[in-house]
Subunit: 115 residues, 2 copies
DNA sequence: ATCGATACTGACAAAGTTGTCAGTACCAGC
DNA sequence: GCTGGTACTGACAACTTTGTCAGTATCGAT
């Protein structure tokens, strides 16, 4: 049940994209970059995502070493997710992507309103 | 016949990713970053890609303003694709992505050989 | 007259991703 | 003893993306 396809591509661009690719991964990382969060908190803070999808993406991000899972082991269950040390190296990359994306959105909007 | 899904997401990260997302877009941009190329040249230089897929991706990149299509209008047809001025603003972003990807591949390889 | 090269399109199948729904297990409160 | 909250899984439907295959048009060479 994979959320991102590309298995083990040798292309560094594909390798990077496979980590953040997935319908909700960007948003999840954005939320977690502000601090650790519980599964249910994340679920409530991301409108439109289903629990199933959230958990699938979280598991992939954990598998890729980008985020960490901390289970309190208590009942009712309480699990916190946070960006790992390795994941933090990704944040500046996301910022560059985000900056270009913001610029691009402005360009697209201008193009739309020109019609 | 879209190659990338996300229509008009307000998230800048998604906006950026929708532009380079697609099985072969990274590779195509990589090739074109070295200079203009004909459709058939690109086809031959990217192993595994089909003509159909190449053309679909090229058309999307043109639509997004990242690359330019120049048709000589001759027979037999001769069409050159090149990175547009706007597309050039994307190159540094790709370089950051690529740098992280390269690093990530090394980490993944270490993890694999450790098993 | 047929073949190969060029740059494409259309129809459709295969594969991959996302979403839906039901179900598990435990505890707390009413 | 029923309901609601927590974190999760499995099966499967729906949708998206990718790949396959055949077909278009024109020119030049054989």
């Amino acid at each position: 049940m994979p959320v991102s396809k590309k298995e083990i591509s040798e292309c560094p661009i594909d390798a990077m994209l496979s980590v953040i690719d997935g319908r909700w991964k960007g948003t999840i990382l954005w939320r977690l970059s502000e601090g650790p969060m519980r599964t249910s908190e994340l679920h409530r803070s991301i409108p439109g995502i289903t629990e199933r999808m959230l958990i699938r993406h979280l598991q992939e991000l954990v598998k890729d070493g980008i985020i960490q899972r901390r289970d309190e082991g208590s009942h009712p269950p309480c699990v916190h997710y946070s960006i790992s040390r390795y994941g933090r190296t990704l944040v500046p990359v996301l910022e560059v992507i985000c900056a270009w994306g913001r610029h691009h959105l402005k360009v697209v909007h201008r193009a739309c309103s020109a019609i």
